[in-house]
């Protein structure tokens, strides 16, 4: 299929703009949901629309109706801050309860939510290894094992034919896969940023590429070591 790609000896499918579906594990992977980001800002007087959590969870629910995954794995920064899970309110709360009941919901904990209490269901792990692939929040330098992580919010930005095209993207190397942020109000970091390239942990001869989802599949762009996109 046009959406398929191989990583760590397994087949994955690009699902929507910022999720992947792992067929062998029947798992939907998302990262950096940053639930309750708007209310975190409202605490300090910036009254952002209180619909970010419901929007994010509805997007997950929509993917669930396409793929009917047995489990959903959220790769950290699940809530925008430690207190976020206590602020989650209706109608988003009911949606999360439903999702966590209908699937096996797995929280990988991230730097924004060190202490997920799991009060909305699901199981929490620091990290997880499935079929030899490590799932963790932030890429670990020097780990030779295939690894899928989040944290950096990679975003592809390039002027194509005079038009700025800007879209969330995946970063893929032979051993590392970095997911884009899934949350409705999560911004992105330019995929060419040195921080992302460093996290790719490339050895000589290896190439990192950006995967950008489109309506019918995805486009691939090589990221060279100087941090510029090959055109």
């Amino acid at each position: 299929m046009a959406q398929d790609f191989e990583f760590g000896g397994e087949t994955f499918e690009v699902a929507g703009e910022a999720a992947i579906y792992w067929r062998a594990q029947d798992a939907l992977l998302v990262s950096d949901l940053h639930l309750e980001k708007a209310s975190a800002f409202a605490l300090y007087g910036q009254m952002l629309p209180p619909y970010d959590s419901v929007s994010t969870l509805q997007d997950i629910a929509a993917l669930c109706s396409t793929y009917s995954p047995a489990r959903i794995i959220s790769l950290g920064d699940n809530f925008h801050d430690d207190d976020g899970e206590h602020r989650l309110a209706e109608p988003a709360a009911a949606l999360l309860v439903d999702l966590a009941r209908e699937t096996e919901w797995i929280w990988i904990t991230g730097n924004h939510d060190r202490a997920v209490a799991g009060i909305w269901g699901g199981k929490a792990f620091d990290e997880l290894i499935l079929s030899g692939i490590t799932l963790r929040h932030e890429a670990l330098s020097g780990d030779p094992n295939p690894e899928i992580s989040g944290h950096f919010h990679p975003k592809f930005r390039q002027v194509l034919r005079g038009r700025m095209v800007s879209r969330r993207c995946f970063v893929k190397t032979p051993r590392k896969m970095i997911m884009p942020a899934f949350g409705a109000l999560t911004g992105g970091l330019d995929v060419q940023d040195m921080a992302i390239l460093k996290a790719c942990d490339l050895v000589s001869g290896e190439v990192a590429e950006a995967l950008v989802a489109t309506q019918t599949g995805y486009a691939r762009f090589a990221l060279n070591r100087a941090g510029t996109c090959a055109k």
Binding site: S39, A42, L43, G45, Q46, M47, L48, P49, P50, Y51, D52, V54, S55, A89, R157, Q158, V159, L160, R161, R163, M164, V165, R167, A184, L185, T186, G187, G188, V207, E209, V212, T214, Q215, T216, A219, R220, F221, A222, T228, C229, A230, K231
Partner: protein, 822 residues
């Protein structure tokens, strides 16, 4: 300094032949007399208005001594009744102008030996002086609309302004009908409440309808409360249209074909100002002049994206008479007057008669002598436009200004500022706000929504009731929930929201200016571009800095900036349409232009008065449709988007379109046999909403209202948020808000902006209304003469239609794929 002074027009009073009326104190009359001057008629009339306790609007040409006319009543009053508190507030749209007037006002005060303190207060004023000004204000304070708004947000503002007698709004024509005008009109309403006897004065260049500005200035829009004072008419300008060897190019906007004549003209004058319509063209023309500058004249460049240091340096060189010519943009439409400019050149189309007159006024500030100005049209349509502007100037006709209802985002900022100053009663504040003309139609329900927006975001989902910014007192007055919100407000208030920009600087830290992020994204290390007249090579791009060095190879790239297009005014467009139908009038046109129009009449048709000409013809294996509405680029651009959408749904297979200020061209794989349904007015109902919502236009508008209204912060205490971060978050916020609360106040505000400014939907509507009954469709075998200037733009300025991001990504990916094949 003295020279500046004279050119402000103070000396020309001798010519008015009017004996001074002895209402002025001897100290002022003596001062005039010592210079052999007399007060002018309009200066005395301003004194009359003040004595009669009336508000006043002074309309006068540049160089008529407007500034003095504004201040004389204040000096007069302060001499008669010395007082210590703040007496007069002077408000200028330009920070630099406030500094300049301060210099020019201080001289007479010093020379008369008056004990009057004059100080400036802008964003650049050091904070210790700002604090002192609030405790011990000067008698005359010079400031900007933004700084005044901030002053009013302080708890002690009631005390500070209690004894205020006069407020003088300078250059009111330049900003009254925009968002800064909205903000100032609200501040004026506040000031009038704090000081009920306050006299409002506005100074304006000549405008089409002074009544609009009297109403804007008046409390409650009551025009009769504002006396109109008119200055003597300036001498007619000496205006010419430059046609090198009778040539007018088919295409282009720069006027670069006239470069040799420009060099000659610079040699003939002491100082020449060369106005360009965009920053891009200013850099381009500067480059071309420099290449052709055999006589080695000192030529400078000035535009709004240069660093403040670079601009001050050029302005200094101008003041010292070190430059022979200065290439500039609208950055010099207002501001410092250099008396020794004796020629103004307008490159490309003038776009409007008012702006042209304003620019002409930059030259020769002696009112009795004509200003010399030269128009250099870039192409044949621009020639017609230049001729239309020439006629308008000769007849002294200005463009009409359109006034629009005040923006909600500005109102939210103002109300938050008021809340910072102290508790308020909702009904009382509504009455005060309604006394500002832009908000006179505001109803209580909408005002309640604005307050709810400030308090909790104003969402249908009541999620933030426990985080309220505003709470109600037991006595039913709104007050700030926490003082930290006042500090936050003062850091974020302001009306100007820049596009995301990168700072250009050398490695040693010297700043050159700014380019937009979208341009910077096209650059990689080693690329060269021209900026501030220099060829620069990119060393590296770090966060928001573009580090450059002097280029060793020639640079072909010039930065362009969004929103840089001045639309052709309705007034000039009407004149151009009229000129096309007036065949005998073509006799005065140069041969090239006349033959072009005659060939058009022969090969196709010329529209009659009121007709909209639409031509269809095959060309190069495609089918073209070209319409000539003359409604300006914005309206044509919008129409192009809408028409190609409609063509798409009707299976006509459109491939692209191109728009200019004069015409719109669309091409497709299938021929258009009947253009009428494509121009039907229902396109505004059916396709318009859909298109605007999915386009970048509304996101750009939303970004601005989100910042102005205070929904997102411009900066945090101690750390300025970058333009890039703001862009990310407001686009995402827009998407969420549009999905879950499409009727939210801020989306309404963004829509209002998108309609008024970005799509020119009013003119688009007029065009479509006209099209219904007056379309003249001509089907041709080949391209018409009138269509040629538009068709040669294709490839350079055409726009791919539809949502093409996916296609662009797939195309780019294929390239990368080839490059990546092992």
């Amino acid at each position: 300094m003295t020279r500046n002074w004279q050119h402000q027009g103070w000396n020309a009073g001798k010519l008015s032949g009017i004996k001074p009326v002895v209402i002025l104190p001897p100290i002022i009359l003596d001062w005039f007399a010592a210079r052999g001057w007399q007060p002018r008629r309009h200066q005395l009339e301003m004194l009359d208005a003040a004595r009669d306790g009336r508000h006043a609007l002074l309309v006068a040409a540049t160089g008529a001594g407007k500034t003095l006319a504004g201040f004389l009543p204040s000096l007069n009053d302060l001499i008669a009744h010395p007082s210590d508190g703040l007496h007069t507030l002077y408000i200028s749209p330009l920070k630099a102008l406030a500094t300049d007037v301060r210099r020019n006002l201080l001289i007479p005060i010093e020379e008369m030996g008056l004990p009057i303190r004059v100080e400036a207060r802008t964003g650049d004023t050091p904070s210790d002086r700002k604090a002192r000004q609030r405790v011990k204000p000067p008698q005359i304070l010079l400031t900007t609309p933004e700084s005044l708004s901030l002053l009013l947000s302080h708890e002690d503002s009631a005390y500070m302004f209690a004894a205020l007698k006069r407020v003088i709004v300078d250059e009111v024509h330049a900003f009254a009908n925009g968002k800064r005008g909205d903000l100032l009109s609200l501040s004026l309403a506040r000031l009038q409440m704090l000081a009920p006897e306050l006299q409002r004065v506005a100074l304006s260049a000549t405008v089409a309808d002074p009544g609009d500005y009297r109403a804007w200035l008046a409390p409650n829009g009551d025009i009769d409360q504002v006396r109109l004072v008119e200055g003597a008419a300036a001498a007619e300008p000496d205006l010419t249209i430059l046609l090198p060897e009778g040539r007018v190019p088919w295409a282009g906007h720069s006027g670069q074909h006239a470069i040799p004549q420009l060099i000659e003209e610079i040699g003939r004058n002491t100082i020449t100002l060369i106005f360009c319509n965009t920053r891009f063209l200013a850099e381009f023309i500067f480059q071309k002049l420099w290449d052709a500058n055999e006589p080695k004249y000192a030529i400078g460049i000035h535009h709004g994206s240069l660093s403040v240091e670079a601009r001050r340096k050029v302005e200094g060189a101008m003041a010292e008479g070190k430059l022979r010519a200065l290439v500039c943009t609208s950055s010099l439409d207002l501001g410092v007057d250099w008396g020794n400019v004796d020629c103004v050149i307008q490159m490309g189309a003038p776009k409007g008669s008012s702006r042209l007159l304003q620019r002409i006024g930059r030259s020769n500030h002696r009112m009795d002598e004509p200003s010399k100005a030269i128009l250099v049209p870039g192409n044949r349509f621009e020639y017609l436009e230049a001729q239309a502007a020439y006629d308008a100037v000769a007849e002294g006709v200005r463009d009409g200004e359109s006034f629009r209802p005040g923006s909600y985002d500005v109102l939210a900022q103002h109300v938050m500022g008021i809340a910072c100053a102290g508790p308020f009663d909702e009904a009382e504040l509504l009455a005060e706000v309604q006394s500002a003309l832009p908000y006179s139609a505001l109803d209580a329900a909408t005002f309640a929504r604005v307050i709810a927006f400030i308090a909790t975001g104003g969402y249908a989902l009541k999620a933030y009731d426990r985080f309220k910014k505003l709470v109600k007192d037991p006595d039913n007055r709104w007050r700030l929930a926490h003082p930290q919100f006042a500090a936050q407000h003062r850091l974020n208030a302001g009306i100007i929201v820049d596009a995301p920009m990168l700072e250009i600087r050398f490695r040693n830290g010297r700043k050159l200016g700014k380019v937009e992020e979208n341009f910077a994204a096209t650059l990689s290390p080693g690329n060269c571009f021209t900026f501030a007249g220099m060829a620069l090579e990119v060393e590296s791009i770090k966060d928001l800095d573009l580090i450059v060095r002097a280029a060793t190879k020639p640079a072909t790239n010039i930065p362009s900036y969004m929103g840089a297009r001045l639309p052709l005014t309705t007034h000039l467009a009407g004149r151009v349409r009229q000129m096309l139908t007036d065949r005998p009038g073509w006799a005065r046109f140069p041969d090239e232009v006349r033959e072009w129009l005659e060939m058009q009449a022969y090969r196709s048709q010329m529209p009659k008065a009121g007709q909209l000409l639409v031509e269809t013809f095959p060309h190069d294996k495609r089918h073209y449709m070209v319409a000539y509405p003359f409604e300006g680029w914005n309206a044509h651009q919008s129409l192009g988007m809408l028409i190609t959408r409609r063509m798409e749904s009707r299976g006509l297979m459109p491939m692209g379109f191109v728009a200019s200020d004069y015409a719109l061209g669309v091409w497709s794989l299938k021929p258009i046999t009947d253009p009428q349904p494509l121009f039907s007015a229902d396109i505004l109902a059916d396709e318009f909403v859909d298109w605007v919502e999915s386009s970048y236009l509304l996101k750009r508008a939303f970004r601005e209202v989100a910042v102005i209204s205070g929904l997102v912060e411009r900066q945090h205490p101690g750390k300025r948020k970058t333009g890039r971060q703001v862009t990310f978050s407001t686009d995402l916020i827009y998407d969420v808000l549009r999905k879950y609360e499409p009727d939210h106040l801020l989306l309404q505000a963004a829509w209002a902006d998108a309609r008024a400014r970005l799509t020119d939907v009013g003119r688009l509507g007029d065009l479509l209304d006209r099209a219904a009954d007056t379309m003249l469709h001509v089907d041709l075998q080949r391209v018409s003469p009138l269509a040629v200037p538009l068709l040669v733009m294709i490839g350079r300025e055409s726009v791919a239609q539809g949502s093409v991001d996916d296609a662009l990504l797939m195309e780019a990916e294929t390239l990368a794929g080839v490059a990546m094949t092992p």
